[in-house]
Amino acid sequence: MDKRKAVMGAGRRWAVDFSDQSTVPSSRDILDPPGFSRVSPEQDDSATSRQKKDAEANWKLQKAWEVAQSPFKNLMMMGFMMWMAGNTVHLFSIGITFSALWQPLSALQSVGKVFEPFKDNKVELLMPKLVFLALNLGGLALGIWKLNTLGLLPTHASDWVSSLPPPQEVEHSGGGFAFH
């Protein structure tokens, strides 16, 4: 400090020192208030905090896995509902099929949001995310399959030719019985 001052005194008239010297109590002018401990927690209880952290990460991972697997239940339920709805096109089956399509789609859109709470540099979220994606894609596939079984997908030749007008004829012929 003296040294600095000497430097200052040598070239400048005044200066404000922004550097925090609180970590160096010996060199401080003002004493810490009583009861205030300047020791950082990790420094003073590093073992227990690490343990806690690990537990949280585990918990997050676990939760992430749970979330990742949650579409499976959905999938099963959807499957059951679809089976119940039957293969004919009516309001119920259409509703179910569209919800079966909509749910995975919206879930896929919000993958980031769903896993945000579990974001942690220590938690490996890739696998849960992949599982989540896979399950939702599975749900989507189920929905599409249902759509197809309902006959709403243009997968047959008939879907592409059903409004095709008859071809033109090259020749033209007319006639019949002679007029009496």
Binding site: W160, S162, P166, E171, H172, F179
Partner: protein, 981 residues
């Protein structure tokens, strides 16, 4: 029990709602349909002489109708349409209370009750040969109980009791060469005189006792010159005939049983010479002879001496003589002068005494007067008044009385031969819709009334008002085009060569025009085509129709083309084409810049002529020259010949619109085993929506849709007669599908033990035909659907998605399309007169068959019932698709008669035309009657029904909005009070 009944009722209700029926409610009758009753061209008319029903006239017509008409208004009191083979030969009144009709060449005698037309008795008379028939009903009204009705027909003279129709006696005149010419029954005499010619050269005269039928006396005398056959009986003991050279009139008198001839040269009566003709009117002691287009009245003196007393120009129609007061006899004659007709009633004895002379303005489009029937009545001042019933050249029937037309009936419409449709003019800006429609208040009032009706609040008066309102609903009969295409014109060509335009809204005649030709007085109409249908110039061009006619009845007589403006009914032009007309082929795909359609007309020499004769049309035709073909069916020889265009005859003649053809193919049916009874093609203007037919398992079948397909039905020559005339082993029915470009037989199907007549309908890729199965003793209906095998490989979805397919490429008949058919047969419980199919604007709506049944009604049958995919136990998916379980016979659901309670008497044809609205089709049926209705085969899925209550909708919306506001306000209030608490 009651429970079971209720359940049963419920079941019935459920079932009836399950079957799609197209029936009407009672109050919907007449909303979309109309029905017009006609009788046809009048042949005979008998006025009532009795006091009972003085105001009526009994007529018989060429459409085999016997009817009683009201003389005041021309309405039909009663009417009976005899069958097409039951032509009426004579009609008279017997005993003052029976109408006697003789029909079927004198083999059927019927008596109808005069006031109500009920059949009193019917007697079938024995007939051995074809001959003219004669009916003689005793005129004596007081003592005629004993006098029989004398009927000659089929070689026999029958005496029939007028009371019960019992045959009293019959006399055989079937001797070879003998022809009965007159049967006379003098008043208060028990002797019947029968005069006939033997081999046209010997007059034979019989006197027969009218009680027993015994021949009292028989005389014969040969006439060396021979008779021509025309005869006029002038009195009870004299007839006048023409000799075989038609230059001598022979008076045959048979006084006291002695025959004597008296010859008079016609040239001695009048200066004109030439072939004479005895006219039909029966005048007492006088006859009318037509020589050189002049009508000469010849008086027959007491001694059989003839003298010419008067002559008239040729265009004169005459009535039979009519007894008027004081033993005088009068007759009427009508002749034309400019646009007027002159009716003259004169005494037969004294042609200078004119009892009546009237001039009446007559519509030019009625042509000449054809027949006149007169009747007298006593006026209040005790003088004689006359009324005349006249039949015009266009078959219309008019009553003239006191110098005016009292009523007229357009009887030409009973013999419609061809029908086409035409659009009405587009609504121009000048015409304000609001003026034609109701004002807003009226509109609202109407809707409130409707609302009352639909909420069952209407009083009986309201119901009547509602019905009335619906009947004359605003736009129904306007003469402009409407958005839905419900208003249209049906153009009908009648046998008389008159063209009528009928409005679909109310069936009124918008215009009518009689065909004219510079070459001949009155060409007969053959057929009708749409000549010009403007789309691009719809605002400033009028559509027109082409009427093909012919001068004369022979097929080689020259044709006449007439172009008629559809909006105005004016004949735009008429031309003699100088060649015969055997066939007319519209080329619907080719139109010139004026949107006139190209037509080819084939003549008897096998040449074709192109119309319109413009260089532009020629250019268009030259481009397609190689691709135009024609075929003709020679029914008698059992040959179908196909021709292609060969060359223009421009080199030989100056006419470059004239082409020769070459024969390309012939299909010869062996005459000993097959006879063509029916041919049919698709309607050229039919619209097909798609070429694919998707089955339940998503499989695709490609329809074979071709305009060049001909359906031909043949039967064994033995089986061509009436049903039941052959055993099942002797008769077979074979149907063919022939490509008319190449002559290839694409498919044939043989029905053993079946017989015609075949009624068929051909639409899209299917044919449905109706015939008689001799083994099952039932009528059958078979459906044949034709599919294209060569396109069936187009099943790869990716190719179809990318458009790599040949499904829309033009196809040629020379590419030898492979095809397969599916067919199925069903019993049909009824005999059929004609079959048609509905047609819609885009061809999307499902089709209905319109079956004209033997009862002159029209049955609408869903095409679903005649679907070859029907099986006994359709799967769930098939059921969902609408496939009906297979049954052995087609159902007739009483509600699906589109004619509901009406009959289209003498039904001959059904014409369908699309409306602009895809769901709806116009149906027009013609016969003796006319019937029109609109049909929606799949219900009106694209529009609200007429009786949809807009007011109810409006009120509901208003009520809902009000409810929302009120509840919103209430909830606000409540919330506020909650907050203050």
């Amino acid at each position: 029990m009651a429970m079971a009944l209720r359940l049963y009722l419920l079941l019935i209700v459920f079932l009836s709602s399950a079957i799609v029926s197209f029936s009407l409610y009672e109050d919907q009758v007449g909303l979309m349909d109309w029905h017009q009753r006609y009788i046809g061209k009048v042949k005979h008319a008998v006025f009532h002489t009795q006091k009972t029903g003085r105001k009526r006239v009994i007529v018989s017509t060429e459409e085999n109708v016997v009817a009683s008409l009201d003389l005041r208004h021309g309405e039909i009191f009663w009417r009976h349409v005899l069958g097409t083979k039951d032509a009426i030969d004579g009609v008279d009144i017997a005993l003052g209370k029976y109408v006697i009709t003789l029909s079927s060449e004198g083999s059927m005698l019927r008596a109808w009750n005069l006031p109500d037309g009920q059949l009193v008795w019917e007697t079938s008379l024995h007939s051995a040969q074809h001959s003219k028939s004669l009916l003689s009903v005793p005129v004596n009204l007081k003592f005629d109980k004993d006098y029989p009705i004398l009927v000659f027909g089929g070689g026999y003279l029958h005496a029939v009791s007028p009371i019960d129709g019992e045959v009293l006696w019959k006399k055989d005149f079937t001797a070879e060469g003998f022809e009965v010419k007159r049967v006379l029954q003098p008043l208060e005499s028990s002797i019947v005189y029968v005069l006939g010619f033997l081999h046209s050269s010997e007059a034979v005269f019989y006197q027969i006792d009218s009680k027993s039928g015994e021949v009292v006396a028989e005389k014969s005398k040969a006439f060396p010159g021979g008779f021509s056959g025309e005869i006029s009986s002038v009195s009870n003991d004299k007839v006048v005939v023409l000799d075989s050279t038609r230059s001598i009139l022979v008076t045959i008198s048979f006084v006291d049983g002695e025959i004597s001839f008296q010859k008079t040269l016609i040239s001695s009566l009048v200066e004109d010479s030439g072939e004479a003709e005895i006219l039909s009117p029966l005048l007492s002691n006088m006859l009318a002879v037509k020589v050189n287009k002049r009508t000469i009245f010849v008086r027959v003196g007491d001694q059989g001496k003839l003298e010419a007393v008067d002559s008239l120009s040729d265009e004169t129609a005459m009535s039979d003589s009519l007894p008027v007061a004081d033993d005088q006899v009068a007759f009427a004659s009508v002749h034309h002068e400019g646009s007027k007709i002159h009716l003259t009633v004169k005494l037969v004895d004294d042609l200078d005494t004119v009892l009546l002379r009237e001039s009446i303005q007559m519509d030019q489009h009625r042509g000449r007067v054809d027949r006149v029937f007169i009747n007298n009545y006593i006026k209040t001042d005790r003088s004689n008044g006359f009324r005349a019933l006249i039949v015009m050249e266009d078959h219309s029937l008019l009553l003239l009385q006191q110098g005016a037309i009292v009523w007229s009936r357009e009887e030409g419409l009973a013999s419609v031969t061809d029908v086409t449709t035409a659009e009405l003019p587009v609504e121009k800006d000048g015409v304000s819709v609001a003026k034609v429609e109701h004002t807003l208040v009226d509109w609202l009032k109407g809707h409130i009334l409707k609302l009352k009706g639909s909420l069952l609040l209407a009083s009986p008066e309201d119901v009547v008002a509602i019905q009335e309102m619906r009947m004359k609903s605003s736009g129904r009969s306007k003469l402009t085009r409407d958005h839905n295409g419900f208003r249209k014109l049906f153009i009908a060509l009648t046998r008389a060569g008159k063209l009528f335009a009928l409005h679909t809204g109310d069936g009124r005649i918008v215009w009518s025009t009689l065909l004219n030709s510079p070459a001949c007085a009155r060409p007969s109409g053959i057929s009708l085509y749409q000549w010009q249908v403007p789309h691009h110039h719809a605002m400033d061009e009028n559509p027109s129709v082409l009427v093909v006619g012919r001068c004369g009845s022979d097929s080689s007589s020259p044709g006449v083309l007439s172009f008629v403006d559809v909006y105005t009914g004016k004949e735009i032009s008429s031309s003699d084409i100088g060649h015969s007309v055997v066939q007319v082929m519209p080329l619907p795909l080719f139109t010139d810049s004026m949107e006139q359609r190209l037509h080819l007309i084939a003549d008897t020499d096998g040449h074709v002529h192109l119309y319109p004769k413009t260089p532009e049309a020629l250019g268009i035709f030259q481009r397609e020259f190689q691709n135009v073909y024609w075929y003709n069916v020679e029914g008698d020889d059992g040959i179908i010949r196909g021709h292609g265009m060969k060359s223009s005859c421009a080199g030989e003649t100056a006419d470059e619109y004239y082409f020769t053809t070459r024969e390309l193919w012939t299909v010869v049916f062996p005459s000993e085993s097959e006879k063509i009874i029916s041919t049919l093609t698709r309607k050229p203007n039919e619209v097909v929506h798609t070429q694919a037919k998707v089955s339940t398992d998503q499989d695709v079948l490609y329809k074979y849709v071709s305009r060049n397909l001909l359906f031909v039905a043949t039967v064994s020559p033995k089986g061509a007669g009436e049903i039941g005339s052959v055993t099942p082993e002797e008769s077979a029915l074979v149907v063919y599908l022939i490509d008319t470009v190449t002559g290839r037989i694409l498919h044939h199907l043989s029905h053993q033990g079946c017989q015609g007549p075949v009624h068929a309908v051909f639409s899209e890729n299917w044919v449905v035909y109706h015939y008689f199965n001799l083994r099952a003793h039932k009528y059958e209906v078979t459906v044949v659907e034709i599919y294209d095998q060569s396109r069936a490989e187009n099943k790869n979805v990716w190719k179809l998605v990318l458009g790599k397919h040949n499904l829309t490429a033009p196809i040629s008949s020379y590419s030898r399309p492979e095809m397969f058919t599916k067919s199925q047969s069903y019993f049909f419980p009824q005999s059929v007169k004609t079959i048609a199919v509905t047609s819609t604007a885009k061809g999307i709506t499902s089709k209905q068959l319109l079956i004209g049944t033997i009862g002159d009604q029209i049955l609408a049958l869903d095409k679903r019932f005649v679907d070859p995919r029907r099986t006994l136990n359709p799967s769930q998916a098939e059921k969902e698709e609408g496939i009906i379980p297979l049954t052995d016979s087609l159902p007739i659901i009483p509600q699906s008669y589109i004619t509901h309670s009406l009959k289209v008497e003498g039904l001959r044809g059904i014409v369908t035309a699309p409306a602009k609205l895809e769901s709806t089709t116009h149906v027009f049926a013609y016969g003796v009657d006319l019937f029109y209705t609109r049909l929606a085969p799949s219900k009106t899925y694209d529009s609200l029904t007429d009786d949809f209550s807009y007011a109810l909708l409006l009120i509901t919306i208003v009520a809902l909005v009000a409810a929302i506001y009120i509840t919103w306000a209430l909830s606000e209030k409540k919330e506020l009070s909650e907050k203050w608490r």
